[in-house]
Amino acid sequence: MHGRIRTWGPGALVLLPTVLLLGYFVYGLIAWSFNTSLTDRHTARRGPADYVGFENYVNLFGEDRFLNSLKNLGVLTVAFIVGTLIFGLLWALLLEKGVTGEGIFRSIFLFPMAISMIASGVVWSWLLNPSQGDEARGLNRLFSIVGLNFLENAWWTAGSRWTTMLSIALPAIWQLSGYIMALFLAGFRGIPPELREAARVDGASEFKLYRHVLFPQLSPIALSALIILGHMSLKLFDLIYAITGPNQFRTEVPAIYMWNTLLSNDQAKAAGIAIVLLAVVAVLVIPYVAYTVRQESNE
């Protein structure tokens, strides 16, 4: 027993500071936030607060503004995930067999990842200018220059939730498709060439080759991509803040609503929104982390 501790002990000791820090700053503070969300701390004042149970959550789910932010988030997440997966997969398909200048295409498709969402938000708020017709600006102006006037629209100031949130998804898709391309490209390149050759010898068409041989090999990567994009979309904050400002009901999502609530000093409600957001992310991420860690330990 003593000998075992001598071999394990130092390793555990190395990890101890990290475990303690994350124990407090991740798990401890989440517990603290949750605790606040159960109280009536609706002002900036300090000192004791009374517990009100789940009243804040009941109020949130009975409130139009919060439900609106959840619906916005749902539409945004669907649009963003579908769009980014399609673009990323398409770019990877176009590049995976090797084309002249591949390195340049790859670098350019991936470069938006290096930019802050605040910086890209500055440009996209210019591009997504809602003015139309003679006064059209941004993308609308470009559409009229190239004769695609029918594409002109009010972007995120439009009436419908789908148009509004698609306008927010567009810059996010622009920023992250390259990442998904890189993931899929790595996946394609990791498939042994013998698999393709065997399928071709068997007379499989290109379509069948991808459908039945290559795509099934990519499903673990597609799952990773889905989880990454999902949790990014649920947390999306900077981009919306930079493009529309934080005070737009049309583009408000829970992450933004939490900030706005905090500005009005309602700490209990802000904590409640944050915990709901965390719960949504956790439903997505916990099974994935557990699955990955278990699978790796089996290797």
């Binding site: 394990w8 802050s116 591009l127 220059i145 400002g245 991420v285």
Partner: protein, 301 residues
């Protein structure tokens, strides 16, 4: 650093990206028409990705009289550096703060991440997997869920608002990803046998780490340093919650420069370029290691 080591650094997956298929494989099933279509599509998407770049560049050199609706997509009538000067005057102090925050935060979290990663990959103890999952989860949380009490904690500990608070926050919340990158890195490049034989020779953890692991960690450090530097530099959420204009980083400065009712787009665009310059430079010079970090972000290196 050898080329082979550099390859290993970016992880198996990232290295695989660059492995172009053999010539023979390209010809199969590819006609001239489909190749033309392929290039046309690639060019179209290239234009899509580069459109914002064109907009930033031309707008940042325009005078205010030059930014009418009709002239939005044309080159500047008269080229001016005025927007750049204006943006730089505003952003300069923020740039200095961001540098003095991103560099130490990246270095500290990489160092801790390296030690953690080594233990989790090659000096395992019972329950190491549970600890790994415990650490990893911290990477995915929406930070709004900790922001309020984090602010209170910093106030109570009397940490100076601004660069010091942000360094601490970024180091702590950067630990999961740095640990993950190094764990995958060591699991890929360090054979178990080396560690075993070192143990047989009586080398302890510290000796093994310093003599065997550290000398081959350079590329792992390049990946995590780049990753952390980029994400700290680009962070807005922590900056917004924990700092103010007079002590905040560059994303806060840019948001202030480009916010408000009447936006000076020429200066905002110049500001977007100025604030993106350090991370773009890193991306252009060290792109392959940047991809290594991205791949690690997908958990399975």
């Amino acid at each position: 650093m050898t080329a082979a080591e550099a390859e290993a650094a970016t992880g198996r997956a990232a290295a695989a990206i660059r492995q172009k298929p053999r010539r023979g494989a390209i010809a199969d099933g590819t006609t001239r028409t489909s190749r033309t279509v392929k290039y046309l599509l690639l060019l179209f998407f290239l234009l899509f990705v580069l459109t914002p770049v064109y907009v930033v560049l031309i707008t940042s050199f325009k005078t205010s009289s030059d930014t009418t609706a009709a002239a939005q997509w044309s080159l500047p009538e008269t080229w001016t550096l005025e927007p750049w000067r204006k943006a730089w005057d505003v952003l300069q102090p923020y740039m200095i703060r961001s540098l003095s925050l991103a560099i130490p935060a990246a270095i500290i979290s990489s160092m801790i991440g390296s030690a953690n990663g080594f233990v989790l990959a090659r000096w395992r103890f019972p329950g190491a997997n549970v600890v790994f999952a415990f650490i990893l989860f911290g990477m995915f949380i929406p930070y709004q869920a900790v922001m309020l009490p984090l602010r209170t904690t910093f106030n109570e500990l009397d940490v100076t608002r601004g660069v010091p608070t942000l360094i601490i926050a970024h180091v702590i919340y950067g630990l999961p990803i740095c640990t993950l990158i190094f764990r995958n890195y060591y699991a890929t490049i360090v054979p178990n046998e080396i560690i075993e034989s070192a143990r047989v020779d009586g080398a302890g953890l510290v000796q093994t780490y310093v003599r065997i692991i550290l000398p081959i960690s350079i590329s792992g450090f390049v990946v995590t340093l780049i990753w952390q530097f980029t994400s700290v530099w680009n962070d807005f959420l922590f900056a917004l919650f924990l700092t103010q204009q007079q002590n905040g980083p560059v994303t806060l400065g840019l948001a202030a420069l480009s916010g408000g009712q009447k936006v000076d787009y020429a200066a905002s665009m110049a500001g977007a370029l100025i604030t993106s310059f350090p991370t773009l430079l890193v991306y252009i010079l060290l792109g392959r290691w940047f991809i290594g970090g991205l791949m690690a972000g997908a958990l399975k290196g």
